[in-house]
Amino acid sequence: MTRNAFLWISVAILAVYFTVALLAPFIAPYGATEITGSPFQPPDSGHLFGTNDVGQDIFSQLVYGSRVTLIFGFCSALLSVSISTCAGIVLGYYGGNLDEVVCRILDILMPIPIFPLLIVLTTFFNPGIVQVSILMGVLGSIHGIRLIRAPALSLAETPFIEGARSIGATDLRIMSRHILPNLMPVVTAKFVSSSQHYLVMGVGLSFIGLWDTMTVDWGSMIQNAYSSGALSLGLWWWILPPGIAVVGISLALALAGYSLEESFNPRLEVNRI
Amino acid sequence: MSLLEIAGLSVQFEGRDGTVPVLDNIDLEINSGDRVALIGESGCGKTVFGMSVMRLLPSNARVTGSARYAGRDLLLADEREMQQVRGKKIAMISQNSASVLNPVLTIGDQIAESLTIHTSCRGKDLHREVIALLTSLGIERPEENMQKYPHQFSGGMRERILIAMALACNPDLIIADEPTSGLDALVKAQILELLRTVMQDRTLLLITHDLGTASALASHTAVMYAGEIVEYGPTQELFTYPLHPYTQGLIAASPSAGFHPIPGVSPAPGQVPPGCWFCPRCTCATDRCSTGHPSLKKTGTNRQVRCLRYD
């Protein structure tokens, strides 16, 4: 089995997750907060994963929860990577004073503790998913800009960029048609690894209850199960499914990330399975 | 008696898409005091040859044949034995001086390292030894310079340091792989002069694509094409009366001879044509050249050539 096969397997797993999230209303037998049974029902045909302490269907919660978790992970990763890429390319391409100034600013911003800042900033909004993911994306891009800037800088000095410039291509065209495609491997790999990171982070934030606890997502499901007796009562069907769901997508993203990284970085290719 | 006797050395690399032959059935004998040059175009397998003798090829290389050094077959020696040979008996001057020196160690440390491994030289003696080496290679202010890091030196200086590293343990054989690549003409001439001085009484295997370097340093020359030796002989004689069409072409292609390049390109490893491998580029190829593969034949007293014309 090769890394390539791993990539396809992880893409397939991701596709399943996305399908579930998109078609949630058709897949879930009940609403996410609908009370459809008595509390703590063990799994049966009516409730695939049983019910929680209120009598809500855990399977339906799992299905609807995928939306929140996926939106959070991918939106913040997309935002963060877009900002990093745009800023990184512009800095790398123009260089000079602009680059110097922005890099100094980044140097200064770097030590600011992101995680607590994020937690505090969420209090400014009704801590909804979208707001938090935007915040997270913006704050996370501080570290990403440097990652993109370095290869952009060396690309901007290569002969073919000089060539493009000499035939009168506009800056915008050079950046979008010549530099960006060459950076795509780095950007893609960064996107995949960021999505995994943010997704797990989002579930974690929700687990420690730092945003809207009314939203049904995997983190709050785990938190709910963990604090309302799933362990002491041995209700595995309550605490395991959301955890396994997180592990599944995180694993798929991790595998995809490593496979991508290897296919773009031939040096790592010695690893064959 | 020969110092290093290579017989039937073949190297193949195992890649993702099967194995790729790089060297084919090389025979080469290096006697004590000989300075043998191995010349050929880039990619013909010269460097691989040097590395295969040192057993430094990556793990996916399959080496067959024999390389007898002082009666032992190096290809069969275990790793421990090889460590005794490397640096002490056979030393190497690698190409590309910018990257072969470890950037985080001082050059003093790096030169002293071989001495520490292979000799009992320690402390003040070691220090003195390194300074003597640096001085003998024309590096000024050795005390100060041995505390410096590779990136603080120019290309020519780094090349001198590499030579010092190779000479440190006074090895029986030195394999110099493109010692003058990437240097400008003036520095190159200096290094060549230096090499000529220090290699006067030593055994040298010089790997180069530059005929000038070869003729300046080597007593014997082997010409390599697409992984096999096509001609061998004393340098002076070989350059004056080249027998193989490829050697002739190489000489014609050198800038001093007016730069007439050989038409076509060398075959990629593993994609050699049937018959004589040089046949598609050969100006004097005949029909039988494209069918029968010639073997390396002795001609005259001390010449060898691989061409059907001399059969």
Partner: protein
């Protein structure tokens, strides 16, 4: 390897520096955690005896004690107020053995316990009572607001305190004993303290049945006060242990690491039922929920709408979700707890009947559009948003209520959504901007006739959360304040409940219980009966008897 002396020095500096950093870090660690002075062998450290009760605390901040003049919290069972509130609507004696009140509810005379001693041996006198009031006020301490009504405190003798209020206030006892209440502080300790804001008490000299021992590494320990003047504890001490996760508390109970766990869910209680050596008891009606209206906002400003909604709250289903809850039966006060103050005529006012709700809406100008959505008298679709305080108490309960309301109100054509707020201030703002909100509270806040002031507008309180302002009602509230006559108070409370039943500023939904599980092989006496719902209540702790 050859090294010059310069290189050697460099290396020594770097590695030495790294080692130094590690050592410093370890030293800080040792200093902060008190590892360094652990060996001192403090003589007051008594061996843990078998008859010390171990109670889990849900956060380390709940056992971070500062002083009883401050907000940070004090160990339970050490400080006492004049009276202690009994959840049956009466008051038990504490430092005051008995009390009289003047007819206008303005002058309160407390007869203090004569044998009461501070735990350092100094006798407790009326001077301490007077000092507490004066000190709180002269130092502008936050808790002083509890005593805002107090004009002065006189001490005719050591064991009598006469408190004169600024205005008549029949609910004064409730005021000083309900959370946060006021406990009496020792004058001989506090008179020397000039910076009470930042004073950290380490001894906690009090008069209660327990004395403070220590507070270390996630534990707090109280010992029995042998010199206590009242009913002495029969256990030798109390240990509070931090276990943050409620589920871990249950696990700890099963393992025998703690002796009691309170506030467990009905399902957990059920699973503990068969366990050996574990007993479960339920304290009824400790919490309550209401669906409240903001009368300043459309459509809650329409009385008919509120009336209709009062029939669209399925109190039976909701209380069934709480596992142990019961639907409330009256307009406001909870019958079993408020006892005699409940007007029996109003019991059972808000029956669940969607048809009737629909009828009321139809008769008062509401219509429905083609999709079945409810249109208000102004012709617009009625949509409601319920603000929720996520970090507020019992928000889980509110979630359950919302899910049931949503189900029913959608049948009436009302679209219901929720918004969560992380902060009380924002939440209160949101309550003021929306028509409907939910409230949940421990019943201690609502079980007294005085608590009906919640709905009033008075000189002290120019508005209320309901934005309810009925002059007739306000007059009754003033009336209740101004008298100490229990019969008068009762009849006025009845009238007020009638008014509330008519105006419906709120729909009481249900009450819920607190379930407590304890190790029956260790202590008995946890189940003190109705009204004592906190396991750290000194009355519960003094009632405990070790099994062996």
């Amino acid at each position: 390897m050859e090294e010059s002396s310069g290189q050697k020095r460099k290396r020594i500096i770097v590695y030495g520096g790294l080692c130094l950093i590690v050592i410093i870090a370890l030293c800080i660690a040792a200093w902060g955690s008190g590892i360094g002075n652990a060996a001192e062998g403090d003589s007051k450290n008594k061996e843990i005896s078998a008859d010390e009760v171990i109670i889990p605390a849900s956060s380390s901040s709940s056992i971070t004690y500062t002083s009883n003049m401050q907000k940070g919290g004090v160990p339970p069972g050490i400080y006492q107020g004049l009276v202690i509130k009994d959840l049956n609507g009466t008051f038990d004696p504490a430092l005051a053995e008995s009390w009289d009140v003047s007819a206008d509810a303005k002058t309160w005379t407390f007869h203090l316990a004569k044998d009461a001693l501070w735990s350092d041996g100094v006798p407790f006198t009326c001077a301490d009572v007077k000092f507490t009031n004066d000190y709180l006020k002269s130092n502008n301490l936050t808790l002083a607001f509890v005593l805002n009504d107090v004009q002065s405190i006189e001490c005719p003798d050591d064991s009598t305190a006469v408190i004169t209020l600024k205005t008549s206030y029949s609910g004064f006892l409730d005021q000083i004993s309900r959370q946060p209440g006021i406990t009496i502080s020792p004058q001989h300790i506090w008179q020397n303290i000039t910076d009470p804001q930042h004073y950290e008490d380490e001894k906690f000299i009090g008069t209660g049945p327990f004395v403070f021992d220590q507070n270390t590494a996630g534990y707090a320990r109280l010992l029995k006060n042998d010199a206590y003047y009242g009913k002495k504890a029969q256990i030798s001490g109390v240990v509070l242990k931090v276990i943050t996760n409620p589920d871990s508390q249950v696990l700890a109970l099963k393992n025998g690491e703690v002796d009691v766990v309170s506030d467990i869910s009905p399902a957990v209680a059920k699973s503990l039922d068969g366990e050996k050596n574990i007993a479960v008891y339920t304290v009824k009606d400790t919490g309550a929920y209401e669906v409240a209206f903001n009368l300043a906002q459309y459509p809650a400003n329409i009385t008919a709408f509120r009336r209709a909604i009062s029939h669209a709250v399925d109190r039976d289903t909701i209380s069934s979700l709480f596992g142990t809850g019961r639907p409330t039966e009256t307009t406001f006060l909870i019958p079993s707890l408020a006892g005699k103050y409940v007007n029996p005529e109003d019991v059972g006012m808000y029956t669940y009947n969607l048809t009737e709700a629909r009828e009321i809406l139809k008769n008062s100008g509401f219509t429905w559009d083609g999709k079945g959505l409810l249109l208000g008298p102004d012709g617009n679709v009625v949509t409601l948003t319920i603000p929720l305080g996520t970090k507020g108490q019992a928000s889980g309960g509110n979630q359950k209520i919302v899910s049931v309301l949503k189900n029913d109100w959608e049948k009436l054509g009302i679209t219901l959504s929720t918004v969560s707020y992380d902060d009380q201030k924002q939440y209160k703002k949101a309550i003021n901007a929306n028509a409907v909100f939910l409230d949940s509270f421990p019943v201690t806040l609502h079980d007294d006739a005085d608590a009906l002031t919640n709905f009033a507008v008075t000189p002290l309180q120019d508005t209320n959360y309901y934005n309810y302002n009925n002059p007739e009602y306000n007059a009754l509230v003033a009336g209740i304040r101004n008298t100490a006559d229990q019969t008068k108070i009762m009849s006025m409370a009845y009238q007020m409940q009638d008014i509330l039943a008519k105006d419906i500023p709120t729909v009481p939904v249900c009450t819920s219980d607190t379930i407590v599980a304890y190790r029956s092989d260790r202590f008995t006496g946890w189940d003190l009966g109705q009204g004592y719902y906190s396991v750290t209540d000194p009355r519960v702790l003094t009632n405990l008897i070790p099994v062996k």
